[in-house]
Amino acid sequence: MTDKKKELKPNTYKFDTLSLHAGYQPHKNAGSRQVPIYQTTSYLFDDVDHAAALFNLERGGHIYSRISNPTVGVLEERVASLEGGTAALATSSGMSAIFLTVMTLCEAGDHLVVSSQLYGGTVNLFRLTLPKFGIKCTFVKPRDTEGFKKAIQKNTKGIFGELVGNPGNEIMNMPEIAKIAHEAGIPLMVDATYQTPYLCKPFEHGADIVIHSLTKWMAGHGSSMAGILVEGGKFDWMQNDKFPTMTKPYEGYHGLSFAEEFGPTAFTMKARAEGMRDFGPCLSPQNAWNVLQGIETLSVRMKKHCSNAEEMVKYLSNHESVAWVSHPSVPDHPDHELAKKLLPNGRGSMIAFGIKGGKDAGVAFINNVKLASHLANVGDTRTLVIHPASGTHSQMDEATLKFAGLSHDMIRLSVGIEDIDDIKNDFEIGFRAARKPRLVSNQ
């Protein structure tokens, strides 16, 4: 008998197990197997000393549900564990997570370099709203990696982008852009909503802060709004003098230096201590619980989303009514090779396609599909469609639409997990109507 020496292997829990268990210990919660919903505004202090200790960040715990809540805390830890991050902070929506991230990082007079292909609401935040706070942005096309470098200024505090742009499916070269950011001593912030940690873990490719609209695939069932920012823990805030609010004594907490005191969790600690205190975009415990339910089946759902999406890509690519299809799984997609590297578990379930007949045909298609839902969301278990130029991105002018890579014939498709034949049959109804736009519009 051979006496083979057993190789040492870490037995930390894997993705699917963490999806179900991370952040929660039943024995500390009356043995409740399910995460309890702590529907409360505030928490009893043991005594005055305990209260002071909590307010001074001397010990962990909860004070007021605007700052933290036990149910929300489980969600935060769970997402941090799945992303490979050190800490996370959940918010009331994806947009509030982006806003909180920017306001934790920047002050008036600062500058950001931002990918041009983003959700329309995010474009407007960076283009119109943040300048009101004295924070300016330069937009760069997601594939223009060198452009990100050229756009960095002395007062630039970070680079922001969606890994796969909404709605055009252009992919940022995250590892290269991370190098550019780090050479400039600034963090890379990535909105990875489309991917979820099941498809991509941005920290493994150089990102420093990851943001999700949890409303989408993470929650997955179209029931609840939520957002989150996750910290990678590698970025050294003390490497230069660009981030004084992270490194210098902070008056709001008795001269605390977040970077010195909390190191790899400093950004999240500041975002919570300052941002949640002062802006307050807190997540309700009920919504946190709903998102936790979704995360329990994340990998199962994502596999089905991706396999259905690949089927739909084949179907659309061969359809007479379709002018073009954009999805990273298509071999002639400009980012196909990059997608294989960054998205090894699947290329996601967002498809953009152009319908022959332009805007009128697009409108007719959307007005006639019966199974697919026409609405302003993505990442539902159900199949969703929208015409971005007249919906999600309608507040953008013609030039901005063009710069963001949007065309009037584009339909954005979020592939659900229904039976694939039923989705295709439904699309046939839409395409038939699109070929007769006038007749349909008179109905």
Partner: protein, 272 residues
């Protein structure tokens, strides 16, 4: 705060309060490959309650410069030098894991200077698994992953960090990977493995001593911790259920409660 010891710059967290020479000094000594940040849920309390709480980064670790010290004995002398460097005549010591070896050795060498000793996850010797030692000395990140696995109890593997939103294992991993693994963890593990004087050092300790142990500690099991405590006259022992080696994070509140009672009783704070 930053100060110099043997011409090298040392970083120590003061728990968010300014250093005040009038207040009694507590020095917190971290474990192998880690940094001052492991103590954040203990130091800030003491800093706000009448003490100078110094969570040091050992040389070559965290934000301290210089090279890592190669033996527990050198580290013990260095901790003694820290007391002098910050202008104090005495201190209370708190150690975790390797920090227990260091503080036990330091207390035995400088009995007049050390007023109390608090040990968390301590033993009189910490022999290293040869494969783990080799991985760390060869700069293999797997060494950190293994350490994080073994250092957390079954409950700790699920998370449940006392600070909302923080995830234990990934935070510890980042701390241990913040400097070159072979220069921190590799050197520290070798120092632990080489240290054989724990039993003798413990017998010399006469100051009030507390050992906090955890039932699920695989790295310094309760049995070993009790053995160490039995060598120290009058040593107190507190055992935490359902907790692993990273008790100062896994059960931060419980640890703080026990530590607070022990230190304030035996080494009172400066009253305000």
């Amino acid at each position: 705060m930053k100060f110099k010891v043997n011409n090298n710059e040392v970083f120590a967290s003061t728990g968010g309060r300014p250093f005040d020479k009038k207040k009694p000094l507590i020095i917190f000594v971290h474990g192998s490959g880690l940094t001052h940040m492991t103590w954040v849920l203990q130091t800030r309390y003491f800093a706000f309650h009448g003490y100078n709480a110094l969570a040091i980064d050992l040389p070559g670790h965290g934000l301290s410069s210089g090279e890592s010290l190669k033996s527990i004995e050198e580290m013990a002398d260095w901790v003694h030098d820290v007391i002098d460097a910050v202008g104090h005549k005495e201190a209370s010591l708190v150690g975790h894991s390797q920090g227990c070896l260091v503080t036990v050795e330091c207390t035995s060498r400088y009995p007049d200077k050390i007023k109390t000793l608090s040990l968390m996850g301590g033993a009189s010797a910490i022999p290293m698994n040869p494969e783990l030692l080799s991985l760390a000395e060869n700069n293999d990140p797997k060494a950190v992953d293994l350490m994080m696995d073994w250092a957390h109890g079954p409950a700790g593997h699920f998370g449940g960090h006392p600070v909302p939103g923080l995830y234990h294992i990934n935070t510890g991993t980042m701390l241990a990977k913040s400097r070159t693994i072979q220069n921190t963890l590799g050197v520290d593990f070798r120092a632990c493995d080489n240290y054989k004087n724990g039993f003798e050092a413990a017998k010399k300790i006469k100051c009030p001593t507390l050992s906090i142990l955890a039932t699920d500690d695989k790295m310094c099991p309760v049995k070993e911790g009790k053995k160490l405590a039995s060598l120290i006259d009058g040593s107190q022992v507190d055992i935490i259920d359902n907790c692993g080696h990273m008790m100062l994070l896994e059960e931060a509140d419980r640890v703080l409660t026990v530590l607070k009672k022990f230190i304030t009783t035996n080494y009172p704070p400066l009253s305000s």
